[in-house]
């Protein structure tokens, strides 16, 4: 039996042995389906977190600019019926241009950048739109398998209107040669769904003499009535 969370083939399974950490962390028993009346918990309207002026510009959080290719990442957050999700809190975090996180446990021997922390947040406008300015993160090695490298990515976290629409995901960049070797991206069964996570180069978003633009739209769960096969 399929649960709500994997009904669509759009979602990765919990156990995916090529991603080694899943083997001792994925629950082995089936999830128990909660009646809809109990699962549709409404989130408080956003307002529990102050957003600072430079929170959506990761290049302006230090006295000087970080190293790397300056980029704009922008898009729209919608539900499965393509309706705008306004007032959604988006939080992001990422490695620096050299592929290193500002984190005590990141042991990758690449330089830290004193002018880059790598965390940001914003809230979607009435039309569901958001925008970040940052630098393009570097790819980095990890120890999942021999010569394993993560494709460059930015982590995204979103709060929609209910508990069920909570989403944590990763945004990738177009045409990354590492895609076929990355078990985290490949854990998603459906190719169209994987494609959702790849941003698109966008000349309109590109700011002359300043930053390359990447467009990344996000679809939050809204209802579960339409089977995966019928979706676009």
């Amino acid at each position: 039996m399929h649960g709500r969370s994997d009904l669509f083939g759009s979602q990765p399974p919990l156990l995916y042995p090529p991603y080694r950490s899943t083997t001792r962390r994925a629950p082995s028993r089936p999830l128990i389906r909660l009646p809809e009346s109990l699962s549709d918990l409404h989130m408080p309207v956003y307002g529990w977190w102050p957003i600072g002026e430079t929170d959506n510009d990761l290049t302006r959080q230090h006295p000087e600019e970080p190293q790397g290719q300056r980029i704009t990442v922008a898009g729209r957050v919608v539900d499965e019926d393509a309706r705008a999700v306004s007032g959604a809190l988006i939080e992001i975090w990422q490695a620096n241009a050299a592929g290193r996180y500002r984190h005590a446990k990141d042991a990758h021997p690449a330089p830290l950048d004193p002018n880059f922390t790598g965390g940001g947040r914003t809230v979607t406008d009435a039309d569901g739109r958001y925008e970040f300015t940052t630098i393009k993160p570097g790819a980095y090695p990890w120890r999942n398998h021999d010569n394993a490298w993560r494709p460059a990515h930015i982590h995204f976290s979103l709060f929609g209107s209910t508990f069920r629409t909570r989403l944590v995901t990763q945004m990738y960049f177009p045409d990354d040669p590492l895609f076929p070797y990355d078990p985290i991206l490949q854990s998603i069964p459906d190719e169209r769904a994987r494609h959702r996570l790849v941003s698109r180069f966008d000349l309109e978003l590109t700011r002359p003499e300043c930053a390359l633009g990447f467009s990344f739209d996000i679809v939050l769960r809204g209802h579960d009535a339409t089977p995966f096969e019928g979706r676009v």
Binding site: K105, S157, V168, A225, V232
Partner: protein
């Protein structure tokens, strides 16, 4: 994106081990955001299939519209200062025992896990609709226990796998 056909939802990906600059905990204790109630300290402890502490998880909790989150420490635990559900004035909900909803993220979890924290010894447990969907022998995994040595302290264990694997819900 068209209006008359349902869209494929954006897939989930793991939170990874390095989320701390992105998913920052709220500065104030949850307890301060409730209108009264019995203050408690709730320790959540996360372990993997080898009974090892999960030191890079993020625990998010929702309780009556109040949100809290904490990363786990080296010993797999994190602590919330909140109020005991059921002790806030006018909060009685029909067919639900007082509880806290949990959303768990970690490296190695490709999607978040949802569970609930109930409180051991609560007479309302017997009439709870969500607990009623859980096989009786597994209901105990959803109960926080009082710490016998420290009044007002409760402990909730999350076992990701194994004999005492916690019940996780498809929401």
């Amino acid at each position: 994106m068209t209006g008359d056909t349902a869209l494929i939802a954006t897939p989930s990906q793991t939170v990874g081990p390095f989320f701390h600059h992105g998913l920052v905990p709220h500065a104030d204790p949850m307890a301060d955001r409730f209108p009264g109630g019995e203050r408690i300290r709730l320790l959540v402890r996360v372990t993997d299939g080898d009974s090892q502490p999960v030191s890079d998880a993020l625990v998010e909790v929702w309780q009556r519209g109040v949100f809290g989150r904490m990363p786990t420490r080296e010993d797999g635990t994190c602590e919330f200062e909140t109020v005991r559900p059921g002790t806030i004035p006018d909060e009685r909900v029909e067919s639900q025992a007082p509880h806290i909803s949990v959303c768990l993220f970690a490296r190695g979890l490709l999607r978040q896990l949802h569970t609930r924290i109930y409180f051991a010894g609560d007479p309302a447990l017997a009439e709870d609709a969500a607990l009623g969907t859980v096989p009786e022998e597994r209901r105990g995994t959803l109960l926080a226990s009082p710490d016998p040595t420290r009044p007002g302290h409760w402990v909730f264990d999350v076992h990701l796998q194994g004999e005492r694997e916690t019940v996780f819900f498809d929401v």
